[in-house]
């Protein structure tokens, strides 16, 4: 990984593209999550994905990250559904439920991981990359898969923009207008799970939620329109991803996830401080 500053090689360019795409999608979807006041939802889903990934590995011994991510998506959705169930049928508050789901699923995932370590094969090394993310192992196939999923997410959002904006702003009113809010909510949830799935390889389970929240929170400071907030959040996400990937390629042993997250947090911090009108200064 000793790439010098001026010899940006082909692999790095490729990886940068993948990471930038993820940054855009995460920022865009993060805006919706943030405004819906469900910031921790992304955190819960990404943590809930870990046991699925490891279980998939235990079933298949596969090294293919996409097979494992399918498992992650399944437990991620199970996590969301159980949160929904607990919310409807218990008197527990949302934050308590999020905390429970997050730690129970993540803890279970870690237990499974120690089981996986004991298996006499070398393939389990791949599991570590889902914890903190590692883009250096991304292949061209992975990048094209990321690109494909990103395109799908963006197109869905563009087609249903009006409905999503209405739902996020005033769900009750949306329902009284005759929109099936369950459909919109499910759509947003599916897009969120997809975003997290493509993010897990890059940023990892633990830090994925920052990728959703930090760019959106930063963008929130600069604008009073949803459309410009979403665009700006995508831009910030891409910037953070590019800076992070580049830093981790220049500095040895710096994992990508933390590098990207630090970059995103810097942008958010700067925005909080300096944005006109809404900023502290």
């Amino acid at each position: 990984m000793g790439t010098s500053l001026f010899s940006v090689d082909y692999t790095l360019l490729l990886v940068l593209q993948g990471a930038a795409l993820l940054g855009i999608v995460a920022g865009v979807l993060g805006s919706f999550v943030l405004l819906r006041q469900q910031s921790l939802l992304g955190d819960a889903i990404s943590h809930a994905a870990l046991p699925g990934i490891v279980m998939m590995f235990l079933c298949t011994y596969s090294k293919n990250p996409w097979i494992l991510l399918c498992g992650g998506a399944i437990t991620g959705i199970i996590g969301v559904l159980s949160m929904h169930y607990l919310c409807t049928y218990t008197t527990l508050k949302k934050d308590a439920i999020l905390g429970i789901i997050l730690s129970v699923f993540f803890g279970f995932g870690l237990v499974l991981m120690t089981v996986a370590q004991k298996i006499p094969t070398s393939n389990q090394a791949i599991l570590n990359k889902f914890l903190f993310g590692n883009v250096s192992t991304l292949l061209i196939e992975d990048i094209s898969a990321i690109a494909l999923i990103s395109c799908f997410i963006m197109i869905m959002l563009m087609v249903c923009w009006k409905e999503c904006a209405l739902y996020v702003f005033d769900p009750l009113f949306a329902q009284s207008l005759g929109f099936k809010t369950v459909v919109i909510e499910t759509l947003l949830m599916i897009l969120l799970v997809l975003t997290i799935v493509i993010g897990l390889q890059t940023v990892g389970v633990v830090l994925m939620s920052t990728m959703l929240i930090a760019p959106a929170a930063a963008a929130r400071q600069w604008t009073m329109r949803l459309s410009s907030m979403v665009v700006l959040a995508g831009f910030f996400g891409a910037c953070a991803a590019i800076i992070g990937v580049y830093a981790s390629s220049v500095i040895e042993h710096l994992p990508t996830g933390p590098a990207i997250v630090v970059a995103a947090s810097c942008i958010a911090f700067f925005s909080l401080l300096c944005a006109p009108k809404r900023g502290i200064a």
Binding site: L35, K162, E163, D170, S176, L226
Partner: protein, 209 residues
């Protein structure tokens, strides 16, 4: 113009939400103008309590009012010039035409309520359901809103208002529904707002009327 009146927790909001199909009905059926809700949806406008949305949301007054026409447009269709024109008409009707490009968070409580009204006007409905439109607004706004209601009534629209102020109720409404968990009374204002019915609704309190 009809008032839905009752103490806190009487189920006034629940009553409205059930009519509007926002929450499931425990039993019975609801017909509006002789039809089920989904057949007359376009004739109904709903104005939720002001506290039901996040006023810090990044949206301008114009864009929020524009949302009023989304129901008529249905899925996927985008608003065009015609809808934009309607927004300015609706804003003018509530006296907010100068605030079109202002962030909704910058409005005062009364202006927020009027912006909500403008959004409902976009629906061009027959029946308007309002949940506590006078909660936390000043006298000036209350006057503007009442005058607007009178105008709508003159155009033959029906306005159903959840209200908690008994003192203004008798001047505003020509029909009153008294509610406390169940329907206590429903009828013309002067027949319903009597001490007998009010006592049944609010319990044994002395009313200074």
């Amino acid at each position: 113009m009809c008032g839905v009146i009752g103490p806190n927790g009487a189920g006034k909001t629940t009553f409205i939400k059930a009519i509007l199909n926002v929450i499931p009905v425990a039993s019975g059926t609801i017909t509006i103008l002789g039809n089920a809700f989904k057949d007359v949806r376009n004739k109904i406008a709903y104005i939720p309590q002001r506290s039901s949305v996040d006023w810090d949301f990044p949206i301008t007054v114009f864009d929020m009012v524009l949302m009023g026409c989304y129901g008529k447009l249905g899925w996927f269709k985008r608003p065009g010039d015609l809808e934009h024109m309607h927004v300015y008409e609706a804003l003018a009707a509530v006296g907010l035409e100068k605030y079109a490009d202002v962030r909704i968070g910058a409005l005062s409580g009364g202006q927020q309520q009027r912006a909500f009204l403008a959004r409902a006007l976009m629906q061009n409905a027959q029946i308007y359901f309002l949940d506590e439109p006078f909660a936390g607004v000043d006298i000036a706004t209350e006057k503007i809103i009442i005058n607007l209601f009178k105008k709508l009534c003159d155009e033959g629209k029906t306005i159903i208002v959840v209200h908690h102020d008994l003192f203004t109720a008798s001047t505003y409404f020509d029909w009153v529904i008294l509610l406390n968990k169940r329907c206590i009374a429903s009828g013309p204002t002067e027949q319903v707002l009597t001490s007998v019915y009010l006592e049944r609704t609010y319990g044994n309190i002395t009313f200074f009327r």
